[in-house]
């Protein structure tokens, strides 16, 4: 089947003739349903406009509900009214044409020149708004018609739809008469396409009535009908229209007619847009403003963004996620209950018909839910018709079987900020009710397990399944296109686990080691009584050669390389870890150099295998060796506490000195800073230094074996600052990068516990206690103030960066790399870059931005010996 294609969509203004031509019914009756609840002829629910009630048939096309797309009707307006959307344009046109001869207020030659320029721009696909603007500016300024010499009186436009010529008010009828006389050849100068539009159509004489299907009424629980907002508005229009007609026929006074006309104008205006400035929005009985045409289209919840750019899908599931290190990174654990609900189609052929039958006959998990006949009719498989359906199917039918192990599915977590937010996984049907995923894929999804939910989608066609497997699988996204490094990798326990395994020269017994590696797919292990941790890690390494500084590197002035006393210099030769510690820099997400190297040398599947093994090994190690943190992990001996106390006291004294110097006027200001700023900066620096010193003292007493310290230095979680804050001193709290100054402005103090004008550390939010010791009430208050800023910051930032991203996607979405290597904009065909990124290299395949990783290739060719 070849699908139909839409080649193009042209936008034009509907002419009154066109509106009447496409109308199937003239609507004159403001009532909708009669007493029996049957649609009234000539009413807004006229059966010719389509049907929404089940059981009835459309009188135009004969279709039932769901078949009939609906048909337009029309209302003959008793008097012309202005279209609000074009009200401003009408004003410009009135001012731009002669009041008497209705020609454009430009000499012919000038006009021709403008038209020529506009035509040129149209041909070149460029915007000509600036020319049109210039024409309107010039014509408005012209005071005498160049064609007939008539003096021009300015026409004032009053929002939303009123026009005044001097003191005289122009009725829509007057306006329409004027617009009618503007000749076609002048229109292009005003930016109007004479083939698609006549200016008098901006003044409506006939109003299209949208089909009922676009404004279905709903039946409330009470059995009452509740009409759509649009229907309400149309009822208002018809009612006033009829009243206007009756009054005019009865010869009512001019004043009454004018009032009615204005009322009609109001209703038509709000029918188009209920948020026009200058007039009150039309309200529902309950006081809620009506959602009319413009409101339906506009904004995030409008037709364009909610229903047209985003579409709802079937074959999807959503539940909470939880971790399962036993799964591979490209697998996802799916609860049986979900697997029984979601289906994958089997397109029945002579070769698989037996298999399809088996699915239909089965009563539990891998069974079938529906069969689809070649004519598209879906039949539900229930216990009573299993046998029958299994007999019926033949090639050409579709059997919708349950989700099974090995099916491809798309897995997604919102916000979908980058393409790694939707990846293809292979199904593993598991008990319990959550989706399970390997924690190593948390970074690309930015997922954690504190209650996050994720979505699952089942590609239905074979093409979609193939694309998912080839393009979207997790291993294809180990390297991020953002910076050309791995985004999938070890986190938390993976890193501390491998740190425990490989740091120093730990030796493990044969039994222990076998425990560690039994979950991995390592098969050949040299037989020994004991192994070092580094040997164990080497088992899972493929043949790679690598040399780098680990995360725990202290940044010594002179690197001692393999003799590093911190065991921070990693050397891997031919797949053997010779020295150094494996930590975040080696296997972590975003950093992992080993993952990077394997992915480049052996490809994505090997990298996937390594990550699987690495995570499994790390988890075994960390569970085997044990790794905990408790309150006593942040305890330090009394002497350390005294030292810290000393440091802080010293700093406080120094701050006092600074304040005294400031008060006495002895403080030397820094260049370009005021005295106050200088004082603040020096105090902040002094207190910051004190906290760092306290932290140093604390970490000296905690030692390298402390769990919190191990987590911080290996990069598993947290930083040394966090440890410092737990153990020694929390330090200065800040709001907007300054010490906390807010509070009682008139007395210049942050809290009534202090003297007015107190600048000391305590009065300005310095927290000298540690989290373990606990905060004093005042400190707690300041800490909360600082913490609040962080929360506000995050809230503001997400909305701002979200909008930035939306704008960027909208601006750049149509750019693609062509076969000739250029980057072009799809809609206009403009060449944006002659060669993508100046060298044509894919950032994902590049080595951290470099087109070719020369050093690695050199190593490959020359061998690791040299270098």
């Amino acid at each position: 089947m070849v699908p139909k294609n839409i080649a193009a969509i042209k936008f034009e203004v509907l002419s009154p003739q066109e509106i009447r031509r496409m109308s199937v019914a003239k609507i004159t009756n403001p009532e909708t349903y009669d007493d029996d609840g049957f649609p009234i002829d000539g009413g807004l629910m006229d059966l010719r406009l389509g049907v929404i009630d089940p059981g009835l048939r459309c009188r135009t096309c004969g279709g039932k509900t769901g078949e009939c797309p609906g048909h337009f009707g029309h209302i003959e307006l008793a008097a012309p009214v202005i279209h609000v959307g074009y009200a401003k344009l009408i004003a410009r046109l009135l001012n731009g044409t002669c009041r008497k001869c209705k020609r454009i207020l430009l000499k012919n030659e000038r006009k021709e020149k403008f038209i020529e320029e506009i035509e040129k721009r149209i041909k070149m696909n460029q915007s000509y708004d600036d020319i049109v603007k210039e024409v309107f500016r010039l014509t408005k300024a012209t005071k005498k018609c160049p064609h007939c010499g008539e003096e021009q009186v300015e026409i004032k436009f009053e929002k939303p739809t009123f026009y005044y010529e001097g003191e005289h008010k122009l009725t829509p009828k007057d306006v329409r008469e004027r617009l009618e006389k503007i000749p076609d050849e002048d229109l292009l100068a005003f930016g109007l396409d004479p083939k698609s539009v006549r200016p008098e159509w901006f003044v409506l004489t006939v109003l299209p009535v949208p089909p009922v299907t676009t404004r279905p009424s709903i039946i409330l629980e009470t059995g009452q009908r509740s009409e759509d907002d649009l229907t309400h508005k149309l009822v208002d229009i018809i009612r006033i229209n009829q009243r206007f007609l009756e009054n005019r026929e009865a010869g009512a006074p001019q004043q009454i007619l004018e009032d009615l006309w204005e009322l009609l104008q109001y209703h038509v205006t709000t029918y188009f847009d209920n948020e026009v400035s200058g007039i009150p929005p039309a309200k529902h009985r309950s006081g809620r403003p009506l959602k009319t045409l413009a409101q339906r289209l506009k904004g995030k919840e409008g037709r364009f963004r909610k229903s047209l750019s985003g579409k709802r899908v079937n074959f999807s599931a959503r539940t909470v996620v939880s971790p399962d290190p036993c799964l591979s990174i490209n697998e996802v654990g799916v609860p049986v209950e979900i697997a029984q609900e979601l289906t994958v189609p089997i397109y029945v052929t002579p070769k698989n018909i037996e298999m399809a039958r088996e699915f239909i006959l089965r009563r539990e998990h891998p069974s079938a839910n529906y069969v689809v006949r070649p004519d598209g009719k879906r039949l539900k498989v229930i216990d009573s018709n299993r046998k029958e359906l299994a007999e019926m199917i033949e090639p050409g039918w579709i059997v919708e079987r349950h989700l099974m192990d090995g099916d491809v599915v798309l897995f997604n977590r919102q916000p979908s900020l980058h393409r790694m937010s939707i990846m293809a996984h292979y199904v593993k049907v598991l008990p319990y009710k959550t989706f399970r995923l390997n924690p190593a894929v948390c970074p690309p999804y930015n997922a954690d397990f504190d209650g996050d939910e994720m979505n699952l989608h089942i590609p239905q066609s074979l093409e979609a399944q193939a694309e998912a497997k080839i393009l979207m699988a997790v291993q294809e996204h180990i390297l991020s296109p953002r910076f050309g490094g791995p985004i999938v990798g070890g986190i938390h326990d993976h890193i501390s686990g491998l740190y425990l395994l490989t740091h120093g020269n730990k030796v493990f017994s044969k039994e222990e080691v076998l425990q560690f590696i039994r979950a991995t797919d390592v098969k050949d292990v040299p037989l020994k009584d004991a192994y070092t941790g580094k040997e164990v890690f080497s088992f899972i390494l493929p043949d790679i050669t690598l040399e780098f500084k680990a995360e725990i590197c202290q940044g010594c002035e002179k690197c001692k390389k393999e003799n590093c006393e911190y065991d921070a210099y990693v050397i891997i030769e031919k797949g053997k870890l010779l020295c150094g510690t494996i930590d975040e820099k080696a296997v972590g997400a975003f950093k992992g150099l080993i993952i990077d190297e394997i992915a480049r040398k052996y490809g994505n599947s090997e990298a996937r295998r390594f990550i699987d093994n690495m995570t499994k090994l790390a988890i075994r190690v960390i569970t085997g060796l044990g790794f905990t943190i408790g309150i006593d992990d942040v305890d330090i001996p009394k002497e350390a506490e005294e030292q810290i106390e000393d440091v802080i006291k010293k700093a406080e004294r120094k701050v006092d000195e600074l304040i005294r110097a400031y008060k006495d006027g002895n403080l030397e200001p820094m260049p370009g800073r005021s005295l106050e700023e200088t004082l603040e900066m020096s105090i902040m620096r002094e207190l910051g230094k004190a906290r760092d010193q306290a932290g140093k003292i604390a970490s000296r007493y905690l030692g390298d074996e402390n769990s919190a310290v191990i987590m911080a230095v290996s990069g598993a979680r947290g930083s040394m600052l966090n440890v410092t804050q737990m153990v020694a001193c929390i330090g200065q709290q800040s709001v907007r990068g300054e010490r906390i100054m807010r509070g009682y402005t008139y007395s210049k103090r942050s809290l009534p516990h202090f003297k007015p004008g107190d600048l000391g550390p305590k009065a300005r939010g310095f927290v000298r206690n540690s989290y373990r010791k606990g905060l004093s009430p005042i400190e707690f208050f300041f800490h909360a103030a600082g913490g609040r800023e962080g929360l506000v910051d995050t809230a503001v930032r997400t909305s701002q960066s979200g909008y930035l991203q939306r704008r960027m996607i909208n601006a750049l979405q149509d750019l693609k790399v062509e076969y000739d290597g250029t980057v072009r904009e799809q809609t206009s065909g403009i060449i944006v870059q002659y060669k993508y990124g100046e060298d044509g290299v894919d950032p994902m395949k590049s080595y951290r931005g470099k087109a070719v990783d020369v050093k690695r290739l050199l190593r490959e060719i020359v061998g690791g010996a040299q270098q």
């Binding site: 969509i9 963004r305 260049p671 750049l812 149509d814 693609k816 894919d842 470099k850």
Partner: protein, 375 residues
């Protein structure tokens, strides 16, 4: 020899340089060099972007995604503690919005060799550039009784700024269009008997810049390596590069619009890339420069600086549906109707809206099958 081998391969310059650099460190035989270059070329061709890749979307995501991790605050400029510079997300938004003036305009002025080494000479130039306000060098008094304004210049300050009395007098006369009398080291302005006018002139005098460049509120001199560099708060590239002693080839501003106006569109493109990269880098976020290049190129393709947003790239799309789906839905549709515009459905959003496959990646590929071919 290396050059000769390299010249046969269509590498980008940067790769050639790197290969050469690496090879020169080692002394390899011609065979090995050939083998390496060959291998590099193979790797290079493998690393190329594939056709039909949605380069734009990847770029937008790569810049947008780290946006969530950026900070919001203004920080002190790395190195120069005296200057406040907008960084993080607000700065990135500012760059991509192509704002006419950044919230914290700043210049880095390098000096010509004869000025750069000498602190005094650098100071001289700094004085020429920094705006000097009348209120900084003189006391201004309003004598309401006699309807006079008396300006008492401070000798010392005048000397520091190398200003002469008559120059000051002329400057005031020229910019305020009033007559100024000199009377024993004082400048007096006689105002017509109008109290309002007196206050008016008084206020204007306070903000009068008598020397230097108005936009540049402060100059800081710092030694960097063996040369003195000027950092300024405020920016005016056009005037600064004309100041003698300024090395305009190495002088920078963070105001992209100014660079566009003074140095042209290519310079503006490079400025966008540099500023955006620096902003991201400062936050510790790694983003490939190619993504930023693409964004900068889109902003500057048609020779004008266009913002990423409704008044720029996204708002000037050819497709009506894409524009309507972005922002200002109703206006875009009404406008399109009077112009009789046609949407040829070539882009992404348009095709999503009408429910057709998009023309990107596998969506733009069709497979034809020839029946009756050889078995």
């Amino acid at each position: 020899m290396i050059d000769k081998i390299l010249s046969k391969y269509p590498f980008p310059e940067s790769v050639k340089l790197e290969i050469k650099e690496e090879l020169e460190k080692l002394n390899l035989s011609a065979d090995k060099i050939k083998a390496l270059v060959d291998r590099c070329y193979k790797a290079y061709t493998q690393n190329l972007m594939e056709p039909e890749e949605a380069a734009g979307i990847v770029a937008a995501q790569s810049i947008g995604e780290p946006g969530t991790q950026m900070t919001m605050r203004t920080f002190h400029y790395a190195g120069v503690a005296e200057l406040n510079v907008t960084l993080g997300l607000p700065r990135l938004i500012e760059i991509l919005d192509a704002r006419k003036t950044p919230s914290t305009p700043m210049m880095t002025i390098k000096l010509l060799p004869e000025y750069a080494k000498d602190r005094e000479k650098a100071k001289e130039i700094a004085n020429k550039i920094e705006a000097t306000y009348l209120k900084d060098i003189a006391e201004i008094e309003a004598d309401i009784k006699n309807m006079k304004i008396i300006i008492k210049p401070d000798r010392k300050m005048m000397d520091v700024k190398e200003l002469k009395m008559d120059v000051l007098k002329k400057k005031i006369e020229k910019s305020l269009k009033v007559d100024v009398f000199e009377e024993d080291e004082k400048l007096i302005i006689q105002v017509e008997p109008s109290y309002k006018k007196l206050i008016d002139i008084f206020e204007k005098l306070k903000d009068l810049v008598v020397a230097g460049i108005k936009e540049i509120r402060r100059v800081i001199i710092r030694k960097e390596g063996d040369e003195y560099v000027l950092y300024t708060e405020g920016s005016n590239l056009k005037k600064v590069i004309k100041v003698p002693g300024v090395d305009f080839t190495r002088t920078l501003t963070n105001d992209v619009w100014e660079i566009y106006e003074v140095l042209g569109i290519e310079a503006a493109r490079n400025a966008i890339i540099k500023e955006a990269l620096e902003t991201l880098e400062e936050q510790g976020l790694e983003v490939d420069p190619r993504h930023i290049m693409l964004v900068a190129d889109v902003m500057t393709v048609d020779g004008e600086l266009r913002q990423i947003g409704r008044h720029g790239v996204a708002g000037e799309k050819q497709s009506i549906l894409a524009r309507a789906a972005f922002e200002m839905t109703v206006n875009n549709l009404l406008e399109a109707a009077i112009k009789g515009e046609i949407d040829y459905l070539r882009g992404i959003t348009e095709n999503i809206i009408v429910g057709q496959p998009i023309k990107l990646g596998t969506g733009d590929i069709e497979v034809t099958y020839k029946f009756g071919g050889k078995r």
